[in-house]
């Protein structure tokens, strides 16, 4: 056993015979192996399907798989540490009735220390590499990527653009490919790539479509983009996840994923129904300025200065509707386009 401290500092170093440690190591390893062998299959076969947020979108499915991998990486560590502490408490405590004595003066062990650092570093780097791969592979994992996302779905032609507008204390949604109508209902077509453009009219909100695995802060004057591809029909919850004032707790509603044809019917009829209102709404834009005095709760498209910056960044002005690839042309969306792409399965 080698010692980290210089020997002169520690006289009477009670070296433990090499053989004396082996039974403890062997027992600890056997228990750990058994525990891990039981827990890992349970996690993989029984727990995985139930891990939130489910499989409604590819982003949710990715988050679910990632949580599984992290849990399967963490479980052996947790088992090892807990097992060790319990073992130490049971085996190495001062026995009743025995005269109190000190333990062996073990100051360190270079091999154990180096091994510990090596193993923890390997686990951490593994978690990082895997997390980054998942983040890129699922086009940002449903998280808000800001106005210029760098990880986007490979094919964006059939993508549906939904603008999410947060305000105290309500979510509304605009569908630019359907004339830019605005509604408090969030309806999405199945088997479709969705680009959520999240913005706010007042304070910071956080758009959390729980079952979709989508979360993006709604900042005033910021277009925060998140992507997800729908996989299943059904209802999902939308909550505000950033404290936004007194009714923050009540700022939630539900959205639905429906079949593409149902969605198309709903969108076109709603567009028609709301067209008188859409006319008096501010023109569709990626962000809006709240009205200067707040009276009437109105809001207006962002200033020209914003479009100047936008033009500088993208070489085209958002005003003309001629948008960069990730900002899908707000010029019509047909159900026939949906479902044509490969839905990632695991």
């Amino acid at each position: 056993m080698s010692h980290v401290e210089p020997p002169s500092e520690h006289p009477g170093d009670g070296r433990v015979a090499r053989g004396a440690n082996m039974p403890h190591f062997a027992r600890l390893f056997a228990i750990w192996l058994l525990g891990t062998a039981i827990v890992e299959p349970v996690l993989y076969f029984l727990v995985w399907p139930h891990i939130p947020p489910g499989t409604m979108t590819d982003a949710a499915r990715g988050a679910q798989f990632d949580a599984l991998v992290l849990t399967m990486m963490a479980s052996p560590v947790v088992i090892a540490v807990l097992e060790y502490f319990v073992y130490a408490m049971v085996v190495w405590h001062q026995k009743k009735g025995e005269p109190p004595e000190d333990g062996p003066p073990i100051w360190g062990h270079v091999g154990i220390q180096a091994g510990w650092i090596g193993i923890t570093s390997a686990i951490v780097m593994g978690a990082f590499v895997f997390g980054t791969y998942e983040l890129i592979n699922t086009a940002g994992s449903g998280g808000g990527e800001g106005p210029s996302p760098i990880w986007t779905p490979a094919e964006t032609n059939d993508m549906l653009t939904v603008q999410v507008i947060g305000q105290q204390w309500l979510w509304t949604y605009r569908y630019p490919q359907f004339g830019g109508f605005e509604t408090p209902e969030l309806i999405l077509p199945n088997h479709t790539k969705i680009a959520f453009h999240v913005t706010s009219l007042d304070v910071i909100h956080d758009f959390w479509a729980y079952q979709l695995g989508v979360k993006a802060d709604a900042n005033p004057n910021v277009d925060n983009v998140a992507f997800a591809t729908t996989n299943e029909t059904g209802r999902f919850t939308v909550r505000c996840d950033e404290l936004c004032g007194i009714w923050h707790g009540a700022m939630y509603n539900y959205g639905y994923i429906v079949s593409p044809t149902t969605f198309y019917k709903w969108a076109t009829s709603t567009e028609k129904k709301l067209s008188p209102l859409t006319k008096i709404l501010p023109k569709f834009a990626w962000t809006y300025n709240p009205s200067a005095n707040g009276a009437g709760g109105g809001y207006y498209p962002a200033s020209d200065a914003f479009y100047q910056v936008y033009k500088y960044e993208y070489g085209t002005s958002g005003k003309e509707g001629n948008l960069p690839a990730v900002h899908v042309k707000p010029s019509g969306w047909k159900p026939s386009q949906a479902g044509s792409h490969h839905v990632r399965e695991r």
Binding site: H10, P52, A63, L70, Q113, G143, N289
Partner: protein, 674 residues
């Protein structure tokens, strides 16, 4: 202090200054004059604010405006500090007079005065942080009460948010000083063999400013509270009610105390080590204080500046955080978390240090891999400055920053793992004594394991998209701060109370407290991981009815958790004041320097002659090992065997024995008696 020359020339008779007696104890400055000063300052500040900015009234014809509130709080703090006597020295210096150097007051009123005795300040901090913890805990009980039902409400939504915000802010303020304040100030000079902290006046003022911070944050309630939570995100901060001013000024106030305390600790540890106290012999707790103090000193100014910007936005109508006028709501988020993430390690590292200090005593073994432990603390401290944007993974920040911050955040678990390495190595083939402090140490390792592992989930962006801002995060940091720091703190309170007071706490009540707190804590917060994963955001007063069972379970457990602290309070009051049982000189048979001397009856200058440090304090199981320090003659009182620190020190007879030379060359060239 003027004592410096005497310290250097301690010579054969040792350093034994006479104690001070005040001619008019009730006419001198104390906590009552401090409150009078605070009231006067508040009134003056409010009047000035209304005079210069009455046209900015928040509510028409109420006379209430942000300028008046900010100035009232600022002058109130100033008045309090002046009233306690914290400004006497600088004011006299400004007017060209040399202030009279006096030893601290020695009678019981010293606890209510501006005391430059580090042991008094430590006790003041101890009462202060525990009081603050109880106030914050009452708000927690109110939060859990509201969440017993998904849609029937005990509080109006604005009252609920005030409660949530006060709870978070008070607890965060308390936790930053929970260990550095009481235990750092009390123990560090004793552990390194110093007569005092480097800057005793800064030390004293840091406590009274800390207390002001608590009072300022509580003034938010009559002002209408603030509804932003403890994070105070910006557009909401700018539009919030005047209670927000109390939040900003309160954080600025307590931040000042944190900076002063941290700075003082660094200078003390670097410069005031006794002869022979090499870096390699420094107790691991002192290492943790050093690492924490660097964070306090370097991170807190960022919060101070961020808060100052917020105050300017709300009073002088600047636009640091207003998007439409050239500012950015991201600016606050970045500044706040640039402070905020080092801050969570300000709340973790002291716990590591305390556990590292107690484990060798109760395993009867040297601390395993001491250097790795110290390196781990500094590794955590250094990395903590590079992780702050993991709070902003979904906020729309530059998206390619996310892998970088995912990496730095996950890297920090490597040095944190060192703390487990030293703990597990120390347990190897140990002779564990299951005392109450040891049980708290083991519980800390259990809780922090859960808190740390769930932190990896938070750092992983794809998983964080689901759990960001949810109860999962809330449960995670309660596991690390309450499960880690607070358990270590209570272990240390049971461990060090004999040193603080000379009294033993009742062991049966202590064991009841431990098991009650440990079980109730895990019952409260473990279900909240699940609640968060199932989709419940933080800080909401309404939630999905399917989550009610888990929430009710957490609420019931939270009440039990709250009650467990009553056991501690009863135990402490009973064992220290009502039915005191004198403690043995070294009840835990520790080898630490602080335990070799009866700190509770040591004079304010601790040592007549400085101890000569001979070894590190972890030589358990080594019969031939040197004692931790050469102590003969360091303490006149110890030889006299009686008297106690309350008596005038000058009256006690000469110390025992002549000063003997240190054996060997242990102190060669290391005379650090400055």
């Amino acid at each position: 202090m003027a004592a410096t020359t005497m310290e250097l020339g301690a010579g054969a008779t040792g350093y034994r200054p006479t104690a001070t007696r005040l001619a008019h104890p009730w006419l001198s400055l104390n906590v009552i004059t401090a409150f009078l000063g605070a009231a006067a300052g508040y009134g003056i500040g409010h009047w000035i604010g209304n005079y210069i900015a009455s046209n900015y009234a928040v509510v028409q014809n109420t006379g209430q405006n942000n300028v008046a509130v900010v100035l009232a709080l600022f002058f109130g703090v100033l008045g309090f500090v002046a009233g306690i006597g914290g400004l006497n020295y600088p004011i006299l210096k400004i007017f060209g007079r040399q202030p009279e150097e006096r030893a601290p007051v020695q009678d019981w009123t010293k606890y209510f005065r501006f005391s430059t005795d580090h042991k008094v300040v430590g006790k003041q901090y101890l009462v202060g942080v525990i009081g603050m913890f109880f106030i914050g805990g009452l708000f927690a009980m109110a939060i859990r009460t509201e969440l017993t039902n998904p849609n029937t409400h005990f509080f109006a939504p604005d009252i609920y948010l005030q409660i949530v915000s006060e709870h978070g802010t008070i607890m965060m303020m308390m936790a930053t000083s929970l260990v550095v304040g009481p235990l750092g100030n009390f123990l560090v000079p004793l552990m390194i063999g110093s007569r005092r902290m480097a800057f005793p006046r800064l030390e004293a003022i840091s406590f009274w400013i800390f207390l002001c911070g608590l009072m300022v944050i509580l003034t938010a309630l009559p002002l209408g509270g603030f509804d932003t939570g403890w994070t105070g995100y910006a557009p909401l901060q700018t539009e919030a009610a005047p209670g927000m001013d109390a939040y900003l000024v309160g954080f600025g106030t307590i931040g000042t105390g944190m900076i002063l305390n941290g700075f003082n600790q660094i200078v003390t540890i670097v410069n005031y080590r006794a002869p022979g106290m090499r870096w390699s012999r420094l107790p691991i707790f002192v290492w943790s204080m050093l690492a924490t103090s660097f964070l306090l000193t370097l991170a807190t100014p960022v919060l101070f500046v961020a808060g100052w910007f917020g105050v300017l936005d709300r009073t002088a109508q600047t636009a640091f955080y207003v998007n439409t006028h050239g500012g950015s709501s991201y600016l606050w988020e970045n500044l706040f978390w640039f402070f905020g993430h080092p801050e969570v390690y300000i709340m973790a590292i002291p716990g590591f240090g305390l556990v590292g200090e107690m484990l060798p005593v109760f395993t009867r073994k040297p601390l395993f891999a001491y250097r790795v432990g110290a390196a781990g603390m500094f590794g955590v401290a250094l990395l903590s400055f590079f992780v702050w944007q993991h709070h902003l993974f979904v906020s729309g920040i530059n998206p390619d920053m996310r892998p970088v911050f995912m990496l730095t955040t996950e890297l920090i678990s490597i040095p944190t793992g060192f703390i487990y390495l030293i703990g597990m190595g120390t347990l190897w083939r140990a002779r564990i004594r299951f005392t109450v402090p040891m049980m708290f140490c083991l519980a800390m390792y259990f809780n922090f394991l859960i808190g740390g592992i769930t932190g990896v989930y938070n750092s992983d962006v794809p998983v964080d998209v689901t759990i960001h801002g949810s109860f999962f995060v809330m449960a995670h940091f309660h596991y690390t701060i309450m499960g880690g720091l607070l358990f270590a703190f209570f272990g240390a309170v049971y461990y060090y109370t004999p040193l603080f007071t000379g009294k033993m706490l009742n062991n049966t009540l202590a064991k009841i407290h431990f098991w009650w707190m440990f079980i109730a804590f895990n019952f409260t917060f473990f279900p909240l991981f699940i609640v968060g994963f199932l989709g419940m955001p933080r800080r909401v007063f309404e939630y999905a009815p399917r989550l009610q069972v888990l929430n009710d379970w957490a609420s019931a457990s939270a009440y039990l958790l709250g009650m467990s602290f009553l056991v501690f309070a009863v135990n402490f009051v009973w064992s220290v004041w009502v039915d005191p049982r004198p403690a043995p000189a070294n009840p835990w048979q520790s080898l630490g320097l602080e335990w070799q001397l009866p700190a509770y009856k040591m004079p304010w200058y601790n040592f007549e002659r400085l101890p000569i440090i001979l070894s590190d304090p972890y030589h358990y199981g080594e019969r031939e090992a040197l004692p931790v320090a050469h102590l003969q003659g360091v303490l006149a009182l110890a030889g006299a065997g009686a008297g106690g620190g309350l008596a005038p020190v000058g009256a006690v007879g000469p110390g025992p024995g002549p000063e003997t030379a240190p054996p060997g060359g242990q102190a060669d060239g290391e005379d650090q008696r400055r």
